[in-house]
């Protein structure tokens, strides 16, 4: 066993079940102790951290939301000063968009996609670890700045010239711009991993039309990330260049233009909404199929809708700019393109309704959240059609109507499915069930609290309340609706507290889940809960769209992967035919060290452009360490 050449290597086909799983667990597990934790490249370890960190940021962002609702509960309150309020709404938006919504969706993908496509680890596991550290450091950097009173205060959109050096001479806008860069790096890395995992690491036989809908959703999302993020990367880098080295990208007195920022920002910012929403739809499809006890009707329609939504989302950024004085005819065309996105979104909803109609629904908490999602999201979608209309938008743009609209879309369209997903996949991740009774309370508090908090905002906007105002006078008729909204917000917040209680309680006391507690159909349920480090002892072979329903508990498997090295099986793109075995990286400290070096580089560059020079060598050193060839056993022969 000690000296091996390829043909003599210990393969999984010569070991019996118990031997194999012990052996695989030994070579795939994360080393114990602190060092092991820092070195881990296992997608489940990284994914779990990613999910927890994103939820920690949700908690922080939610606390800020409650602070704002207290300030706005009545007219002329002095609970927060103008300066604090502006920082808080900026931090709330930035945290929710960049540190919670996108990362949490990618985090679920990091955990679930390899399991759902039946492989042992994500593609590029070290990049995955690096991505998590960058996300963590970027988020902490933003929040530490905020706690030291240099948090950004120019809005999560940071429009120039307000965010230019002239009007924000402090470091606040730089902090925001660099935080963007951190999250871009993290998000892009995960997007690349997901695409490659889905294209090359699928279990044999999982042809394109057998990929689970959640995986399809994450694939489309990853492409959106790859095309949208560079746009804000250009925008934020140009901003920081304007601020630090006196370039003039956005300065109209030197031939720049403030609207350049808005075009770049919204060319990212609109797809961003779908980067958050499309994973939500993937979660809905997964949950719905399981609890309706039948596959989602119109599988190809749903996939085409996802792809269509992805394409259209790049063609309508201008509807955020209808009141900037753009030519009217062009604006009219963007109205039509914006509204057209209702068609693929609608088709998906029709497919889900039909699934529920024909199914035999089992009403457990995850399904409740999906039903809440449909009720709420449709309102958000329809108010989105209103916002897409130029004349209506000239009234509601930058008012509380828009605040209501996008919270209906983002919370209804993404957070409700996400909480459903927490209830749905918690047993897989933790090995224990969440309490169903608390889950029902959680749902009703969330559903009622959400609607009481956000529905009145439609009216508030129409009766003249602009966004981003820290106070208003008593004679503006806005007090009652604001008070109602604040009460709703607190109820909504309580629902999250209940979720936290449920998670903490169930981690210790919850009923043991077993492999497949919901009797679901996709591959992640084909392994134990929580899954072992190697995910699957033997790689399954997929012959149906719903393998666990069609083949029962005994899936066919392939044999022949190494049992003494980390190896994954590569398959072809369309037909998922086995192609070759590929080594998967060992744990390594270098991704963490590279992330630290990169963080020093990024933060240093806020204070001196010279950081670009002295910050590079440490990054180079750590990257060399990361990629240093570590010699496989064959090479030593």
């Amino acid at each position: 066993m000690s000296t091996v050449v390829d043909r003599d290597e210990l393969r999984d086909d010569v070991l019996n079940g118990l031997q194999l799983s012990t052996q695989l667990e030994r070579i795939w597990r994360t080393p114990s102790g602190l060092a092991g934790a820092l070195m881990s490249v296992e997608h489940k370890v990284v994914g779990r951290r990613y999910i927890l960190t994103a939820f920690a940021f949700l908690l922080l962002g939610g606390i800020l939301a409650i602070l704002m609702r207290i300030q706005l509960a009545g007219p002329e309150k002095t609970f927060l000063s103008a300066d604090k309020y502006n920082q808080i709404f900026t931090m709330h938006g930035s945290t929710m968009m960049f540190l919670f919504a996108v990362p949490v969706m990618e985090a679920f993908a990091v955990y679930l996609v390899p399991l759902m496509v039946g492989t042992r680890n994500i593609a590029f596991p070290r990049l995955n670890a690096f991505s998590y550290w960058m996300f963590l450091f970027g988020g902490c950097f933003l929040w530490i700045s905020f706690l030291f009173n240099v948090g950004p205060d120019v809005g999560w959109f940071s429009y120039v010239p307000l965010s230019s050096l002239q009007f924000t001479p402090t470091k606040r806008a730089d902090v925001w711009a660099q935080m963007i860069t951190f999250t871009e790096v993290a998000a892009l890395a995960v997007a690349v991993e997901i695409v490659v995992t889905v294209f090359k690491l699928r279990a044999p036989g999982m042809t394109l039309d057998r990929i689970p809908l959640f995986v399809w959703a994450m694939l489309v999302t990853s492409f959106l990330v790859m095309f949208a993020m560079p746009s804000i990367m250009v925008a934020s880098t140009s901003l920081i260049l304007d601020r630090l080295v006196n370039t003039r990208f956005y300065d109209p007195s030197s031939g720049g233009h403030p609207l350049l920022w808005q075009h770049l920002f919204w060319f990212f910012g609109h797809p961003e909404v779908y980067i958050i929403f499309i994973p939500g739809t993937g979660m809905v499809s997964a949950i719905l199929a399981t609890f309706a006890r039948r596959p989602v009707i119109g599988y190809p329609v749903v996939i085409l809708s996802l792809i269509g939504t992805g394409f259209l989302s790049f063609g309508l950024w201008v509807h955020h700019m209808f009141v900037t004085g753009l030519p009217q005819l062009g604006a009219g065309l963007f109205t039509a393109s914006s509204m057209l996105i209702a068609v693929p979104s609608g088709l998906q909803i029709f497919c889900w309704l039909a699934t529920l109609w024909d199914g035999r629904p089992v009403y457990r908490t995850p399904l409740l959240f999906v039903i809440g999602f449909i009720v709420i999201f449709v309102i958000g979608g329809l108010s989105g059609v209103m916002v897409a209309s130029v004349p209506i938008d000239t009234q509601v743009h930058d008012t509380y109507f828009v605040v209501a609209h996008f919270h209906y879309v983002l919370i209804g369209g993404a957070v409700f499915p996400l909480i459903g997903a927490v209830y749905y996949w918690f047993p897989k991740i933790a090995g224990r069930m969440l309490s169903e009774r608390l889950g029902r309370w959680n749902f009703w508090l969330a559903f009622i609290g959400f609607n009481v908090a956000f529905f009145p905002m439609h009216f508030l906007g129409l009766i003249g309340m602009p966004r981003r105002v820290y106070t208003y006078t008593a004679d503006m008729d806005w007090a009652h609706l604001n008070l109602l909204s604040s009460i709703g917000a607190i109820v909504f917040a309580l629902s999250f507290a209940l979720l936290l209680v449920n998670v903490v309680y169930s981690l210790r006391k919850g009923a043991l889940a077993g492999d497949n507690p919901w009797n679901a159909s996709t591959l992640e349920w084909a392994t134990s809960s929580p899954p072992p480090p190697q995910n699957f002892d033997r790689i399954p072979v997929v012959k149906h769209r719903d393998p666990l329903w069609a083949d029962g508990e005994s899936l066919p498997v392939v044999a022949g992967l190494s049992a003494e090295r980390r190896e994954v099986l590569l398959t072809s793109l369309a037909e998922a035919e086995p192609q070759t075995r590929e080594a998967s990286p060992e744990p390594s400290i270098w991704p963490l060290l590279t992330a630290i070096a990169t963080t020093v580089f990024f933060i240093g560059s806020i204070f001196t452009p010279w950081a670009v020079l002295w910050g590079t060598p440490p990054m180079a050193v750590t990257l060399i360490g990361w990629f240093w060839p570590s010699g496989s056993k064959e090479d030593e022969e």
């Binding site: 809005g155 068609v343 088709l347 449909i374 004349p391 938008d393 009216f459 009766i463």
Partner: protein, 336 residues
Amino acid sequence: MKVWVRRVLSVCATWPLAACAGRQSALDPQGLQSDQIRHTLFIFVGVAAVVWIAVVIVLGIAMMRRKRAAEQPLDLHEAFEQRTGRVILALGIATTVIVLGLSFVSYAGQRTVFAKDENALTLRIVGHQWWWEVHYEADSPHQSFVTANEIRIPTGQPVKVELESADVIHSFWVPSLTGKMDLIPGQKNKLQFTAKNAGVYRGQCAEFCGLQHAHMAFAVLALPPDEFGRWREHENQSADSPADQLGKQGEALFRARGCALCHNVSGTLAGGQLGPDLTHIGSRTTIAAGTLPNTPATLGAWISDPQHIKPGNLMPKMPLQSDELIAIIHYLEQLK
């Protein structure tokens, strides 16, 4: 039905409508454009309500349909699937038709809202952190004047505002009259509207513009045309010299204490250009860009500590004795 139940229901039914009658409400239009926008909005809301109710009803039926006990999954109903496919296709086409229909409704509304009139009264408005500079310009310089934070317009006549910014992006918005338009540095935007009825309509900056974004409001006073003409005639004139001793003392202090470095008062030596023009401050309804009503008490509070009322604004706190403050207030009150 119990009385109180009926009362609660009637309050619930009428209260949103009562709330519409605000001074800054898109639901209570007082202009041609805002009227058209509300019309378009109501069409959209109607369609949306029908669609949402339909979805919820279908969802409810799907959930409550009498069903056999839960079966083994994957018991597919091929016939159902085919029928459903046709229904989904039909619904997809229906959605497309509705969306295109609404696009045309929207475009028709847009054409009306943004229709141009060559004979419009033209004003030039410059946004500042956090106040509004309003220029009434005419061919002869004697017919041109500048005011701040208060716009008077004639009813029934189209008004065109040309929008510029002196610093960051602001947005000009008077929901009772029309939708908003941004004021962007380096760019000139235009917006046209017509007030149907006389009245005072509140407007407010709608684009986040920094620390005191919340306190960047203004008033639009729509006057009958002849009254507007008289006002305009009067506004052309320079400020009257103060009649009494206290007023004269105030005028002198206004210059001596540095107010005149930033503020202009036409016809006097005060020619500052940084702050709002104060030539006819006494006749304005509010001070500090709609933050407070214009009374001697609020004026005094503002002058003695502007940073307390609107932290971060560009007016510094001036050390003034109380008798000096009284004189300056008295002077400003006379600038009508």
